[in-house]
Symmetry: C2
Subunit: 338 residues, 2 copies
Amino acid sequence: MKVTLKTIAEEAGLSITTVSRALAGYGDVNEDTRRRIVAIAQRLGYQPNLAARHLRSKQTRTIGMVIPLTSYFSDPFFMELLSGVGRQAAEYGYDLLLSAQQPGEEELSAYRRMVASSRIDGVVLARVLADDPRIAFLKEARHPFVAFGRSNANDYPYIDVDGATGVYRLVEHLVARGHRRIAIILSPRTLAFTTARFEGYQRALNEAGIALAGQYIVESDLTQEGGRMAAQRLLDLPSPPTAIVACNDAMAIGTMQAIRACGRVVGRDVAVAGFDDIPTAAFTDPPLTTVRQPIYDIGRRALDMLVCVIRQEPLDEAHVLLVPELIVRQSSGAPPSR
Amino acid sequence: MKVTLKTIAEEAGLSITTVSRALAGYGDVNEDTRRRIVAIAQRLGYQPNLAARHLRSKQTRTIGMVIPLTSYFSDPFFMELLSGVGRQAAEYGYDLLLSAQQPGEEELSAYRRMVASSRIDGVVLARVLADDPRIAFLKEARHPFVAFGRSNANDYPYIDVDGATGVYRLVEHLVARGHRRIAIILSPRTLAFTTARFEGYQRALNEAGIALAGQYIVESDLTQEGGRMAAQRLLDLPSPPTAIVACNDAMAIGTMQAIRACGRVVGRDVAVAGFDDIPTAAFTDPPLTTVRQPIYDIGRRALDMLVCVIRQEPLDEAHVLLVPELIVRQSSGAPPSR
DNA sequence: GTTGACACCCAAAACGTTTTGGATTATCGT
DNA sequence: ACGATAATCCAAAACGTTTTGGGTGTCAAC
């Protein structure tokens, strides 16, 4: 019932070796027999047993990704990245092995399992930490991987968005609209990109001749609810900011909720801007000004790079840095929509 | 360098068999030796080679899903389903193997590959067709699977949302708001759930004493752009509808664009309703009235069922039918927001 | 002293593939 | 006619695990 090389070999009156080599397209098998073998394989609906193949040949044509469980559902970021990676993986004939895990220890051990049990040929890693144990592990294990994001020790292939420039343009834009009291809701310091985004904020304020004010710098956890609470604190200040930049769109949406909750109008009383340009951003009320990270394309390019690494081909660019695009919508202070 | 059972066996001065059985927790190995073996395994960082294990034991602890490539990116539906399935899979210690494929032949052959190459223990299948070759194949192959959706021949385990009731409530709600000219933008007829949703539409109109009008029934492709174009046609009618029900939220959002494009106001001039309650639905302008499909939970429950099927345990319910919840927001004709 | 019963351990086969290192013919130049 | 070369084919090993079907030693009971 199960059709293996052996079945075909018997059917064709040939050896398993020959069948194997014929199907693999080696040159040392007669073209006629090859065709005959292929025909039989087709007829019997032969599919190679991948476990056996992997066991023998030590490659799996599978890419691994670990998705943090907490943000799994709520986070459009991973979904979009996954789409890009998955799409491109399909292009190369690779499959995608997902493992949803609690961040932290759990997550690291998921990588450990995937790598050591040789289930995957490579890893795409996202949302890198400033000091990332997962990267340390993969480097140590000499296992192919590509990261979305730079960390402190960045001697590995990565693709990243220039967050500093992104936030810089955002703040520049707000300054041009006349804002002086501009607050920022940062992502957790442990994340590698936080530093860059904060840098952009500092640089823009500096060039505009605005002093950095500690009270306008808060930190939250990238969720909508976290953004709402952080914004609340900012709005309760004796001299509240007139513009709030959030380090991602989810927190920006939370910020908009907080603003509405205290009876003020987003875009008129307080400007709001985010980062990412998730699909929802275009449909908030008012639509959200943000910085577009082409996450989907990043996923695809990350996979391109990963495949190179796996094949041990030289990478034309081991460090890709994309300049994000400023997307101005109504939340940053256009006259009330329509 | 690679640590296998053999490495441990040598280290411990025991046979591979004993090491294997010790780690698997069989009773026929001395508790002391077992502990010693476990300690060594730990120390050397042993991870079983899954390819070998699968080759031998014919089970992979992996669930397969095929995602249609076209709707992959744009479609929040699959992302959310994936989240639920992935989450619950992690709970059971299963991994998730994704394959992004063109719908149609390609997709079917992806299933064929996955199944025949014995990479997966089971399949979660979504968006079933009225007459679904994938289901036919999986039944034929006697491979464990659970579907999200019923089809014509539904003698297989599935979980589904009662689309008829969902649309019925939607239309009922619109009728209560005084609408009489209610149009519907259907999903493609090939999809199994289209029939049910249309049925709900018919029933509701019937009970309200409204005659079915062919001109108010159009069909589109579940995308935002498709919805926009379909709505355009409806709005160009000599006697255009005052309310439009779309079979999913994406098309509803397209509908809202079309309405705005011809200078009318959503919720005042024309009511709009969708189906799914995707995350974006709450943030459109105005927020979208829709029917909530708990896709995430459906994913989790589908996986629960699948695990039962894989383990050959009896299912307490082989056919789960959820009644969806009506979510009334401003797009269906509330007074202009705020 | 023999016999079971029991606890503990192991050799070898099997899973289905790829790869290595020839073996067997046929063909050909001389 | 004879070695050489090329064209085909194949047996056997290897990958790392689980499982089968014992084997060995100890100990109590007779």
